[in-house]
């Protein structure tokens, strides 16, 4: 290996170390949040293996339904006799799937539109920004609701619905950054030597937006989970019997006098995961680009 490469590798390692030390340097709360997210990820990926029972298995017998927490059913059973722990695990999986898919969808579309709007400016920019304003004037929950309504519900409908609500933030952010970056001499130089527009956008402008995009993506995962659980609570999200955290709270609401934990536990899961995403997003922002503080 040549000397140059070793140096490069060492520098990259030092950078990574520096970033990690700032990231975790914010105190135990960051570490806890990071661990929560790891557990959440692990549980969601291996949901089918971890679930002690089938989350959809019914048990209508008097003894089977609305059981209090016990050794057999650590979180008890719901009004239809389904094991709550298994349903929470299954709900974690659906939360992760919808948030990652919708977040990625929003990122891809939003970044592309933002790059185009920022680089070409003028009329293109005005048209795109008007459309963004229009989307922002419709509250996110309403927007997600009608999109998923048009797509007839289901996971696809929810993913597209939630994804669309998050596009405007990406467009605005990338547009603003590109508009500023474009003024740099190296972009002008690239233009003068005759590089293709596509290449300038993807190779020079896009990578420079990266730090803020990672932060936005992380935070959006949390808000997507929030929106998904709200939609499921309202009964316009993912269709039952699929277990969702929001849907479990809604189901539990009916038998709250006898079994309050049915509402309590899924809500706690939403809170832990959403706050963990927010905290990790905050720390990532500080580690990657401290100038963004207060702006994201």
């Amino acid at each position: 290996m040549s000397n140059d490469l070793v140096l490069k590798r060492n520098r990259r390692r030092a950078n990574l170390k520096q970033t990690a030390s700032v990231f975790f340097g914010r105190g135990p709360i960051v570490v806890i949040s990071f661990v929560i997210l790891l557990v959440f990820l692990f549980v969601s990926i291996f949901a089918q293996l971890i679930e002690p029972y089938d989350p959809l298995a019914l048990d209508y017998t008097i003894d089977g339904k609305l059981q209090s927490p016990s050794a057999e059913h650590p979180f008890g059973t719901d009004a239809l006799g389904r094991d709550v722990l298994s349903r929470i695990i299954s709900g974690a999986q659906i939360s992760l799937v919808t948030s990652v898919l919708s977040g990625t969808l929003a990122a891809v579309i939003g970044i592309l539109i933002g790059l185009i709007a920022g680089y070409f400016g003028k009329v293109v920019n005005v048209v795109i920004m008007r459309l963004v304003d229009m989307m922002l004037s419709i509250p996110s929950l309403v927007f997600a609701m009608i999109i998923s309504f048009v797509l007839q519900g289901g996971v696809l409908g929810i993913v597209v619905g939630i994804g669309f609500t998050m596009i405007p933030t990406y467009v605005r952010m990338v547009n603003g950054q590109v508009a500023a970056l474009k003024e740099n001499d190296y972009i002008t130089a690239a233009e003068i030597v005759g590089q293709k527009k596509r290449k300038i956008i993807l190779k020079h402008l896009f990578p420079n937006c990266f730090p803020s995009l990672i932060v936005l993506y992380t935070m959006n995962l949390g808000s997507a989970i929030m929106t998904e659980s709200s939609l499921s609570y309202l009964g316009v999200g993912i269709n039952p019997p699929q277990a969702t955290w929001g849907g479990m709270v809604a189901d539990g609401y009916n038998c709250m006098t006898t079994s309050p934990w049915l509402c309590f536990l899924p809500g706690v899961c939403v809170i832990l995961v959403v706050i963990a995403f927010n905290v990790v997003g905050d720390s990532l922002r500080d580690a990657l680009d401290p100038r963004l503080r207060g702006k994201l």
Partner: protein, 317 residues
């Protein structure tokens, strides 16, 4: 100022037109026949065709859109529900005051509390008050509103019997009834607004405090309170005004969720009913109305912003 006003007004109108086209066309993309979807499979074909004719659904797209907008603009007529035939204008007239009577107090509560606690925690940076406020603000951003509402019902009405379980009493019928029914829903709707405003206020003040002119004022021996109120707050709160417009969106989301939890017949509930029963005229009307309110709020905020901050006006010239 006048040209700024006109430009903002035109922009808002354009946004409204775009929203109305969006709200109208999105329902047209819906696969299948809307009347058939609303009435179900059991209804005979002739009945469906009759209704389609009556609602003007056989006209070309632009004729339908034009008629819809014309009805709203000239007669404030949103059309009728496919399912029940009720006038949507009447439904809105019944439900809008309900949503308003909960949303407005929540809005004011969230903003006032957010501003106050944001200022206090910025002044007390790193102290106990700051830590407590920051903790609650960050927590509020992570707690789903439906959950806090449901838990409140469990503790406050089932355990302690302090407030009624659910429902709504109009303030014109009984003030005390309204208050006891509304107190918890209002608090629940305001949580997000409070959190966002408090965080933003705090970070803005901390940013302004680092500015050179604040240091100069301090070096000149001006009193701390005077620096805070005259030099810092004036500049720090202007950006907060802009995000008040964004809060309108949160207010609507909160209202939809809370109206569902407490079974309150408001506008959010109407929209939800429209979506679940596939009554797409109701959905269209609600989306348009909600956006209308948001656009107006944003317009007012922009005007206020331009009024307070001359730099904004200049950038729009």
């Amino acid at each position: 100022m006048f040209s700024y006003f006109i430009k903002r007004l035109l922009m808002s109108l354009l946004t409204l037109v775009l929203v109305s086209i969006f709200a109208f066309s999105i329902m047209k993309i819906l696969p299948g026949d809307p009347v058939r979807l609303a009435l179900g499979e059991a209804v005979p074909e002739e009945k469906v065709q009759e209704l389609r004719e009556e609602y003007g659904l056989n006209d070309p797209f632009f004729v339908q859109y034009f008629n819809w907008v014309k009805g709203i603009v000239t007669k404030w007529d949103f059309g009728r529900s496919i399912l029940t035939g009720e006038e949507i204008t009447d439904l809105i007239a019944q439900r809008l005051p309900v949503t308003f009577s909960l949303g407005l107090p929540a809005f004011i509560l969230g903003i006032v509390l957010g501003l106050l606690l944001g200022i206090v925690s910025a002044v007390d940076r790193g102290g106990i008050v700051d830590n407590i406020v920051s903790f609650f603000a960050n927590l509020s951003l992570g707690v789903p509103q439906f959950w806090i509402a449901v838990m409140g019902v469990y503790v406050l009405s089932l355990k302690w019997k302090l407030i009624p379980l659910q429902g709504y009493v109009s303030p014109s019928a009984s003030i005390s009834g309204f208050l006891s029914h509304a107190v918890w829903p209002v608090i629940c709707i305001s949580t997000f607004i409070f959190a966002v405003i408090a965080r933003q206020t705090r970070s803005n003040i901390l940013e302004v405090i680092q500015q050179d002119y604040v240091r100069t004022a301090r070096a000149n021996g001006i009193k701390n309170s005077s620096i805070l109120f005259r030099h810092t707050l004036k500049n720090a709160l202007i950006p907060v005004v802009t995000i008040i417009g964004v809060q309108m969106r949160m207010l609507v989301c909160g209202s939809i969720i809370i109206e569902s939890v407490f079974n309150i017949a408001g506008l959010g509930n109407l929209l939800l009913r429209g979506v679940t029963s596939r009554d797409y005229f109701i959905v269209q009307a609600c989306v348009l109305l909600i956006s209308f309110v948001t656009v107006i709020a944003n317009f007012l905020v922009d005007i206020a912003y331009g009024f307070f901050d001359p730099r904004i006006r200049k950038s729009w010239r």
